[in-house]
Symmetry: C2
Subunit: 375 residues, 2 copies
């Protein structure tokens, strides 16, 4: 597993915001800045799917504990409304069943922030207990046959490890040849491990609702839906740093995000019968579709038209999930001060670029929405 | 519920150490400084009771998930060896049963430290999942009928709230009249709530092993086993501060620790049949005894004989679980700097007192060890 940096960044995409690096205070108790609005939109948009899955499961037809899990929960903020709506639906359908809500993320997640955010919000549902787990979703998190409803959003694109450095790009969307193959293989192994672990955990009739970054049917992915490619911009600035001698070739190459965006085919493959391993473990793909949720910063810019404001609002969210990887790519023999300065200049360059020519910049979310049943 | 201060102090008695205030780094991975040795001794000493309780439960006679909980776990460090030994015993008796280990504490506990400390230590047991809960043990933490083995050490003396200020002392051991009655009543209500919640959570045949601070048959309690009374010393220095005008009468009075040490009679009462409410809920007191675990600092002093060393090692552990209450007692209109200075001088005075005349100082642990069965 990678250390704190990579996945923290990942969870920050979803659950936290650029505020940590931009200096805006993040208030507790349901307030979130613009930087999490997009991630929350994605989850809010998935809520009807979750409620449909719940209705199909018919919690009233079973007894005993009903367990829901949010895997890759970060600080729990962006999913709280969805979790509350879902568990209220369970409570309504099955007034007598005890409910366990399990928030899970990797060991380096901030669980103190999670417990603070969730607070007493779910208490009114009644007969409900809340837990956290620090076990990666690449492994078994819950006891066998204990999970009714598993949810995950904008988390599973973070690989368990970086299979190799990408020689000429910062993200697998720009990888070719052997590097692309290595990333695809790592993602295939990882997705298989995710499904195998969930197959063990799910009760029969239980459901997974997974909202994962993807490469959609038209080739869109996060930050690339026409316009300027976010990852190409990341790469171009980093390459310019190399060209001007600000960073070494090794530093350029090491900046490789441990992420991969599966296609629908890649997501579906292990779930196809009769030979797919997840299919063999009892998992059935009930539903898969892709959706694009527009970048809230770019949308905001269309209203206010202020280039500098757009740039200064937009960059912190990119920074929140990439900074630790950039930082980690820099040579260990650089002083911390030197590293900080390079990082500041890097994001400053990106911001100046957006402010100078904002058109086409933005981070539209491109997700695959899946519902998977355990038979 | 009280805020972070009180119970954080409480868990620090057990799980953390004076290192946080003394400047000694606490290493992860099983290293603990002297300040936690006493708390760990207490839990290690309770391990045979836990293993006996487990043997009586015979995990091999049941199927399905085996759930153990450590309630008031703090950072999980001092109980790790006991938890590991217990779950290894479960694994040996019932190789096929999945195990869930649930660490619980109040919402303000440091769960990041907990997950770091537990790390991968329990993984080798196999088919085991680890969770945390941030729900107070005065409430239901686990689903009904789900708990096999509940453990708690050196945590349940922290009351859910301070019922009143004690006019002439800092702790209930020095309270009289109406104040003493209010503390006893609060503790009675709290102990009732603890047992009622556990009665809901426990499976039939499940056990609780509780190691709680108490007032023993001879009237001993934490820091008072003959010699100098730790709490009287706390009170005397605080009263001197009042006498010299360093603090106000309100500040003197507000320094009231929200703690109570039950007697064996008070612990046993709700468990007595046929009218005890916990008895009525199916709980049976299988075993109760008191033990004294000697202060490791005083024991160390007997060997090295260095007064200053004893004083400087001993005070941080007292400070770790009292400082936040002293801090909170100071007027809100004092500057933080002023408060810090008063607090420093307070513990400095205590340290000088111990260094000048160390004989009789020390914090012997006085606990009641209980085993409770659910019928």
């Amino acid at each position: 597993m990678l250390g704190a940096s990579a996945r923290t960044g990942g969870t920050m995409t979803r659950g936290k915001d650029g505020a940590m690096t931009s200096g805006t205070a993040m208030k507790g108790g349901g307030y979130y800045s613009l930087a999490t609005v997009g991630a929350k939109h994605v989850i809010d948009g998935a809520t009807p799917l979750v409620l449909e899955a719940l209705a199909a499961m018919a919690p009233e037809r079973a007894k005993g504990l009903f367990t829901m899990a949010d895997m890759g929960c970060a600080d729990g903020g962006t999913s709280l409304a969805m979790v509350e709506a879902s568990l209220r639906a369970v409570r309504k359908a099955a007034p007598e069943r005890p409910i366990a809500m399990v928030y899970t993320d990797q060991p380096t997640n901030d669980y103190n922030a999670l417990f603070q955010n969730v607070g007493t919000r779910l208490e009114a549902i009644g007969n409900l207990t809340v837990f956290a787990s620090a076990t990666s979703f690449y492994r078994q998190i819950l006891p066998p046959g204990s999970l009714d409803l598993g949810f995950s959003a904008t988390a599973m694109h973070w690989l368990a490890k970086k299979p190799c450095d990408i020689p000429d790009h910062v993200q697998a969307v720009g990888a070719r040849g052997a590097a692309l193959e290595a990333f695809a293989a790592e993602a295939r192994t990882g997705w298989g491990a995710i499904l195998a672990s969930r197959a063990i955990e799910l009760k029969r009739g239980g459901r997974l609702v997974l909202v994962n970054f993807c490469k959609d049917e038209a080739g869109n992915y996060l930050g690339w839906t026409g316009g300027v490619s976010m990852f190409d911009t990341f790469n171009r600035i980093w390459r310019d740093f190399l060209a001007e001698g600000a960073i070494t070739a090794d530093e350029y190459t090491r900046m490789t995000l441990p992420q991969y965006y599966n296609t629908l085919e890649e997501f579906s493959r292990p779930l196809k019968g009769p030979d797919g391993p997840a299919y063999g473990a009892g998992l059935r793909l009930e539903h898969i579709e892709t959706r694009i949720v527009p970048c809230p910063f770019a949308a905001d810019f269309k209203h206010h038209g202020d280039r500098a404001r757009f740039a200064s609002a937009y960059i912190p969210t990119l920074r929140s999930w990439t900074e630790s990887t950039f930082h980690g790519a820099l040579d260990a023999d650089r002083s911390e001060l030197e590293r900080r300065a390079l990082i500041e200049r890097y994001y400053g360059t990106y911001e100046a670029l957006v402010a100078a020519q904002p058109e086409g910049h933005g981070m539209d979310y491109v997700h695959a929405y899946m519902v998977i049943r355990k038979d």
